[in-house]
């Protein structure tokens, strides 16, 4: 259940990037090989956001499907196959799918209030 500790880190990170605005939406990217469960993240978020900068913000999770490719010929390996390029005989590299990333936040800033946070 490390999802709670990830959500605490997320709320902290949102606070650092919100520049004092009212956060309305938080979008994160979670790779399918990140070792993090999206359902548990959502549950953890519902509890952890109370009383924080994320209290009024919806959480959107974008899954990123894992992809292994040959580092030389860039051939993408089929899911479930051996992680070795059949042509080049090289170990494959993970090109995406291990993300635990705060991608974007949507904030509302009261007009005229912006400069006070600079």
């Amino acid at each position: 259940m490390h999802e709670y500790s990830i959500i605490h880190a997320l709320v902290e990170s949102v606070g650092a990037h919100a520049a004092g605005g009212q956060v309305r939406r938080v979008r994160i990217e979670i790779g399918t090989l990140a070792g993090v469960d999206a359902g548990l993240l959502t549950t953890a978020y519902e509890v952890a956001r109370i009383g924080t900068i994320c209290a009024e913000a919806t959480l959107e999770i974008t899954p990123v499907h894992a992809q292994w490719a040959c580092p030389r010929c860039e051939r993408i390996l089929a899911r479930g196959s051996k992680l070795q390029c059949p042509e080049c005989d090289l170990p494959a590299a993970l090109t995406r799918g291990d993300e635990i990333v705060l991608a974007q936040i949507e904030v509302e800033i009261e007009e005229g209030k912006e400069s006070s946070h600079v």
């Binding site: 259940m1 490390h2 500790s5 990830i6 880190a9 997320l10 902290e12 990170s13 990037h17 919100a18 520049a19 605005g21 009212q22 309305r24 994160i28 090989l33 990140a34 070792g35 993090v36 292994w68 479930g80 196959s81 051996k82 992680l83 070795q84 170990p91 494959a92 590299a93 993970l94 291990d98 635990i100 990333v101 705060l102 991608a103 974007q104 936040i105 949507e106 904030v107 509302e108 800033i109 009261e110 007009e111 912006e114």
Partner: protein, 228 residues
């Protein structure tokens, strides 16, 4: 009136853990210590690997260990009894170690005269894979009694492993018809790009020499150490 704006952040959520891990890594480099994050299921034989290493090597290799444990100091006590300098981290109910908790422990842990610091993580094949501790390498203990398809069930853990210690191989004669080593190797090859595996038995000592050689190769070359 409110103005809505979208801010592209694109930052790793665990960046605070990452910077603590970088700090730990620098600390290990300064002391010339190779840090190993030893992971595996509860009961995979992580502590037994270290005990056997000390026993069969007769204490020649300078190994120290930090053992993560939810509720007891039993693992650290076993390691100390085996002659290994050891400390324990009790995480309460937390399912993994993170870089900050390791950092706090390092404040009270003497690394003088140590070549390898093994961090024995909490027994768990999911959460520990997510947190960088500042280690040089990830090693996963996988026991033959866990079955042939364990790696396929926990791909994240094995994708990040630099080495798998296939433990309890002395039990293989009792598993005929149930567990085939080539099938374990096949599973590993589908989740681990460089499936390095050492067959290991804490009971007979099989694999201890190979494991120590593997560790020796992880040491920075003398030139690198000099200019690090």
């Amino acid at each position: 009136m409110c103005e809505k704006s979208k801010v592209d952040v694109n930052a790793r959520i665990l960046e605070r853990n990452d910077s603590a891990a970088a700090h730990n890594a620098a600390h290990f480099r300064e002391h010339g210590v190779v840090c190993v994050n030893l992971m595996g299921s509860p009961g995979a034989g992580k502590t037994a690997v270290l005990e056997a290493t000390a026993r069969f090597d007769r204490g020649k290799t300078r190994i120290a260990a930090i053992a993560g444990d939810l509720a007891t100091d039993n693992d650290a006590d076993r390691l100390k009894a085996a002659g290994i300098r050891a400390a324990s981290i009790n995480t309460g109910s937390a399912c993994h170690l993170d870089a900050e908790i390791v950092h706090r422990t390092l404040h009270h842990f003497d690394l003088d005269g140590v070549d390898y610091l093994i961090i024995e993580n909490i027994g768990n094949l999911v959460c520990p894979a997510v947190y960088d501790l500042g280690q040089a390498v990830n090693v996963v203990a996988l026991s033959v009694t866990e079955g042939e398809d364990k790696p396929l069930k926990y791909p994240t853990m094995f994708a990040k492993a630099d080495l798998v210690l296939l433990t309890k191989v002395d039990l293989l004669p009792y598993l005929v018809g149930h567990v085939r080593v080539p099938a374990i190797m096949d599973s590993l090859a589908r989740v681990m790009p460089r499936p390095n595996v050492i067959a290991f038995s804490a009971h007979t000592g099989v694999g201890v020499d190979e494991w120590l050689q593997w560790l020796e190769q992880r040491k920075p070359a003398p030139m690198e150490a000099q200019f690090a």
